[in-house]
């Protein structure tokens, strides 16, 4: 019988997964919230723009375009654009198999979207990541954007966020963002990499042969560096934005020199007039769906990612993961992981030469991810930028002093209690922005000896303090409702897209409001 593989996310990893699964003979349903495939990396212009030269904004356009056309035109592929997966429903323990996939089809956050339930034989999660931004005084001012926002607007809509822009944070992603801004006509005043030259050298300098495996990435970065040099944009290391100021919107930023631990060198502050600032301190993988499926996570110095084996299999039967949710390594690595995941999810032969080659390429991608993490670690001294009144949770405007108070008071230091006491993480974004920050501040203030799993709110062995009977362990990524859904749509009867003899739709066993997540 032909296997049905559902691929969630149509970025580099998901598109490669769909392509490989089709190649292995499966039926594929590819779903993505965007109107077109490509994800954030190949964010495409709207069709209404009828762009004659879209390739001018993309690296590797030709290969992407060919793959996109091949996948979408394939007779065994169903492409569901503007489709949000809002819940994964785990099967009854007596009925093995991957989770059922609950989706809504229609314009984002709209009412009256169509509800469907997919019953895959295998599920590939390739949902990606979003910018992680550390708080600093004034980061909530309009005109402060994540680097991803600036990139999405310039590449996806041809809107530029400002004329005088500072790009700051950490990681190679700052370079394409600066390049996009320059291409779109902004004046980029400077690009500030917080990592110091010594940290960068330690991370990137060791084992240079590993870089050769990611030659495409290296060439791309060299191209951005040349563009910066041509436009006389300074690229400074060991310096960052520690404050944004302005009356109603950003008018200037304060930058400062940093030590290796990202503590500020007093007296090194400089003020730069800007009308926009773009920041990114790495990426947060979008872990709602992997957690909903029941996948185990793996803690790394760069944060938590989905645990996968050599075949991209998660700890859940028939659930595979690929791309940034398994580790931040960029588009080439994501494509390889996707291809492996898609092929194996479709039941493809595990022992062909092509699969062996993919595995070895995937291992090179993982080595690259490890170097990336080593070269751009978040220094523990960053909280020195904060003042007691600095907003930490943007939605609830919870300030730093409140978060610290909750973490140091025994009655409110457990993750769930801290959330209720401070409201941090309870607003519309449901901790997507502040979660990692609040967890890190909490873990630090609770003192040494705290198990790393505590940072994620997971119980340490033999420690049931944080687990309340009947509730799954608290985690900043555990959102029973993975995407916002209107109550009217929830009440509507789903159309079951049956792929197994079963045709009865069942309600998800998860609780029904996003606000209840913990």
């Amino acid at each position: 019988m032909t296997r049905h593989v559902v691929v969630v996310g149509a970025g580099p990893a998901g598109l490669a997964a769909a392509d490989a699964a089709l190649g292995a003979g499966a039926r594929v349903t590819l779903v993505d919230e965007a109107e077109q495939p490509g994800g954030q990396y190949h964010r495409m212009l709207p069709e209404a723009y009828a762009a004659a030269r879209p390739e001018r904004l993309h690296h590797g356009w030709r290969a992407f375009d060919a793959r996109r056309r091949r996948v979408l035109a394939h007779p065994r592929c169903v492409w569901w654009s503007e489709t949000a997966v809002w819940a994964l429903e785990r099967p009854d323990p007596a009925e093995p198999g991957p989770p059922r996939v609950h989706v809504l089809r229609g314009p984002s956050d709209g009412g009256g979207r169509d509800r469907h339930v997919l019953h895959p034989d295998a599920l590939v999660l390739a949902v990606g990541a979003h910018d992680r931004v550390l708080p600093f005084p004034g980061w909530e001012l309009p005109g402060v954007f994540t680097a991803g926002a600036a990139q999405a607007l310039a590449k996806g809509e041809r809107v530029v966020v400002g004329d005088q822009v500072v790009v700051a944070g950490s990681g190679p992603f700052l370079l394409p963002v600066a390049a996009s801004l320059i291409e779109a006509g902004s004046r980029v005043r400077e690009v500030l990499e917080a990592s110091t030259p010594a940290t960068l050298a330690r991370g990137w300098g060791r084992r240079p042969w590993e870089l050769a495996a990611q030659a495409g990435k290296a060439a791309e970065l060299a191209e951005y560096s040349a563009l910066l040099a041509r436009h006389r944009v300074p690229y400074r290391t060991g310096r960052t934005v520690i404050e944004a100021r302005g009356d109603g919107c950003v008018e200037e930023v304060v930058t400062a020199r940093l030590r290796a631990d990202w503590s500020v060198v007093q007296g090194s502050e400089r003020t730069v007039a800007v009308d926009a600032v773009c920041v990114s301190h790495g990426f947060s993988p979008q872990l709602e769906l992997p957690l909903a499926a029941g996948c185990a996570l793996r803690a790394t110095p760069a944060g938590e990612f989905v645990e996968v084996d050599g075949d991209q299999r998660t700890t859940c039967p028939d659930v595979y993961a690929a791309g940034e949710i398994t580790g931040i390594a960029g588009a080439p690595a994501a494509r390889v992981e996707g291809a492996l995941a898609g092929w194996l999810a479709a039941g493809g032969d595990r022992n062909t030469v092509a699969v062996r080659r993919l595995r070895s390429s995937r291992d090179q991608g993982r080595a690259f991810a490890a170097r990336l993490a080593r070269a751009h670690p978040i220094g523990a001294g960053w909280s020195g930028w904060l003042r007691p009144e600095t907003v930490v949770c943007r939605c609830e405007e919870t300030d730093y002093a409140t978060v610290c108070r909750a973490a140091t008071d025994e009655s409110t230091s457990a993750p769930r209690a801290a959330k209720l006491a401070t409201r941090a993480g309870l607003g519309p974004c449901q901790a997507r922005m502040c979660g990692p920050t609040v967890a890190e501040i909490g873990a630090r203030l609770r003192g040494p000896g705290v198990d790393s799993r505590d940072i994620a709110g997971l119980p340490a062995p033999g420690d049931d303090d944080h687990t309340i009977a009947g509730l799954p362990p608290a985690s900043e990524h555990r959102r029973p409702i993975a995407r916002p859904i209107r109550l009217g749509d929830l009440a509507a009867t789903p159309e079951t897209t049956a792929t197994t003899p079963e045709t009865t739709a069942t309600s998800p066993s998860n609780s029904l409001t996003e606000e209840s997540s913990s």
């Binding site: 069709e47 910018d131 909530e140 991803g148 990139q151 939605c395 997507r432």
Partner: protein, 102 residues
């Protein structure tokens, strides 16, 4: 100066522009087909259109649907992420204030 759209005439991607008009709190705002509501608002020079709990102004932050800072009401639907929703000609957009939420 402020955020703006690259004029089609000088855009390296050689694109077309089909104008559209939405209203924001009753006031007409021009954009083009294909833009998100956030893109239309930004390109019209607006950087903030929502207020947080304290009344402080907010606009686009993450641009990809993660932060919920850009929420607007579109027609009868409140809490729509402006960065994720494609603008349609004639959309009636109203700004939101977090402090007024129930």
């Amino acid at each position: 100066m402020s955020p703006r759209r690259i004029p089609a005439a000088t855009d390296a991607v050689e694109r077309r522009e089909t104008p559209l008009t939405i209203t924001v709190d009753g006031e007409p705002v021009d954009g083009i087909e294909g833009q998100s509501i956030a893109g239309v608002l930004l390109a019209s020079g607006r950087r903030a259109w929502r207020t947080g709990r304290s009344g402080a102004p907010r606009g686009v932050f993450c641009g990809i649907g993660a932060c919920f800072d850009c929420l607007v009401t579109v027609g009868p639907e409140r809490d729509v992420r402006a960065c994720r929703r494609r603008a349609r000609d004639g959309d009636e957009v109203r700004t939101q204030a977090r402090g007024e939420e129930r």
